[in-house]
Amino acid sequence: MHISGQASATSLPIGSDADLAWVRQHVRQCAAQLGFGLVQQTKLVTAASELARNTLVHGGGGHAEITPLDNGLTRGLRMRFADQGPGIRDLELAMTDGYTSGGGLGLGLSGAKRLVHEFRVDTEPGRGTTVTAVAWVAQVPASRKGLQ
């Protein structure tokens, strides 16, 4: 939809804690290159950290796809985290602040959604989960879009 003059996507594996650090570093680098401010960079890296950890802990590992975007007006970054894990049975519950199935704070999904402009979860029990998050440079957060 937004994509024109799209640069190449980078795919990174998520299989261990060390991979998470790599994903964070890559997102920070990309965001800085695209012209995101320091606060937005920090938000993007934090969102990436939350989502990548979900992929690792709940999805049993998978991969991250980081794509620079350009819609003609501004530049952006799309982060897609995909796993082949058990999927999310009750997405609404999973998106609730404080709900956790992994012993964390329960802010990963819902918190990451607040840190980016566009957020989308594709999941089906038993068939894995794909979370897509997009942020645009210097843009006020768009009105919250419903899921799916």
């Binding site: 938000k43 704070l105 607040r114």
Partner: protein, 295 residues
């Protein structure tokens, strides 16, 4: 069966060739890219290094273990080869380029070996050339293996160093300690931090503990959870925890993530945190006017 004899003695032929032509082989190798680019200061050094490799190869050939990278003969030059490979890697050579450079030693040696035979097409000549080829292929493997070993050793050493660097607990004042956290706070690291902090609280009889996160690049919900657990554990030990070094970008991110740090005392900088801890202990700091004017 002349051919059988030739096959059996080929390693011996190669070995005695390397001994006899040690000087010539070393001279030619010293001009090869591998040695030339490592020993840039003195050609004599390069020749010496080449001689050491020639001697090692000769020894391996005598033992007949042409294809064995663990042959004792390689032992004497293993360290030297590792250093050479490391030097090339630092200069920007990829592993395959280094392997190519080692392979570059084959042609000069092969030319010299062929000259040894009046009839280079004889069975013995061909067997010997083959034996030397195999031997140099093994040398290539030894170089690559040594380089990889050196790399993984370096990584392991750095990992250990990082863990040590990670968690110093500093006594700032009577009953006040601080931990400057640096880098990624994963589960293993935060466990180390918590342990050393709790130990310090006991050892120093600390009432106040400052966790400074200036050097933590990303504070996500897991890092926040680790921080809160550490704060709670310190509280159980009778110490009050202060989290300092929260940068503006991190503060905004924490709020949007929805993390509630309301139960934790936080300060923007380590100095503020120290001032808070001292204030709570009834310690006041005043500038001494006489001290300034007396000088």
């Amino acid at each position: 069966m002349p051919e059988q004899d030739a096959a059996e003695s080929a390693p011996q032929v190669v070995s005695s060739f390397l001994e006899r032509r040690r000087e010539q082989v070393a001279q030619r190798w010293a001009d090869a890219l591998l040695f030339r680019s490592v020993f840039t200061l003195s050609r004599d050094e390069a020749v010496e290094a080449c001689k050491a490799v020639v001697d090692a190869l000769s020894e391996v050939a005598v033992s007949g273990r042409l294809e064995d990278i663990d042959a004792p003969g390689f032992g004497t030059v293993r360290e030297q080869l590792g250093r050479m490979a490391a030097t090339r890697a630092r200069a920007g050579s990829t592993p395959s380029q280094i392997a190519d450079e080692v392979a570059g030693l084959r042609v000069p040696a092969m030319d010299l070996l062929r000259d040894e035979f009046t009839d280079p097409t004889s069975a013995q000549a061909q067997e010997s050339v083959l034996a030397l080829t195999v031997l140099l292929g093994t040398l290539r493997l030894v170089v690559m293996e040594t380089a990889l070993d050196a790399n993984s050793e370096l990584i392991e050493r750095q990992r250990q160093q990082l863990l040590e660097v990670a968690t110093p607990v500093i006594k700032l004042w009577e009953s006040t300690v601080a931990v400057p956290l640096i880098g990624t706070l994963d589960s293993a690291r935060s466990q180390v931090v918590m342990e050393s902090l709790l130990e310090a609280i006991v050892d120093q009889r600390a009432r106040y503990a400052i966790l400074d996160i200036t050097g933590v690049p990303t504070v996500d919900s897991l890092v926040a959870q680790h921080l809160m657990k550490t704060v709670a554990a310190a509280r159980l030990m009778g110490a009050e925890c202060i989290v300092s070094g929260i940068r503006p970008a991190i503060a905004q991110t924490i709020v949007q993530l929805g993390i509630d740090l309301g139960s934790v005392v936080t300060r923007a900088s380590l100095a503020d945190a120290l001032a808070y801890a001292l204030g709570r202990q009834g310690i006041e700091m005043t500038r001494s006017d006489t001290g300034a004017s007396a000088r």
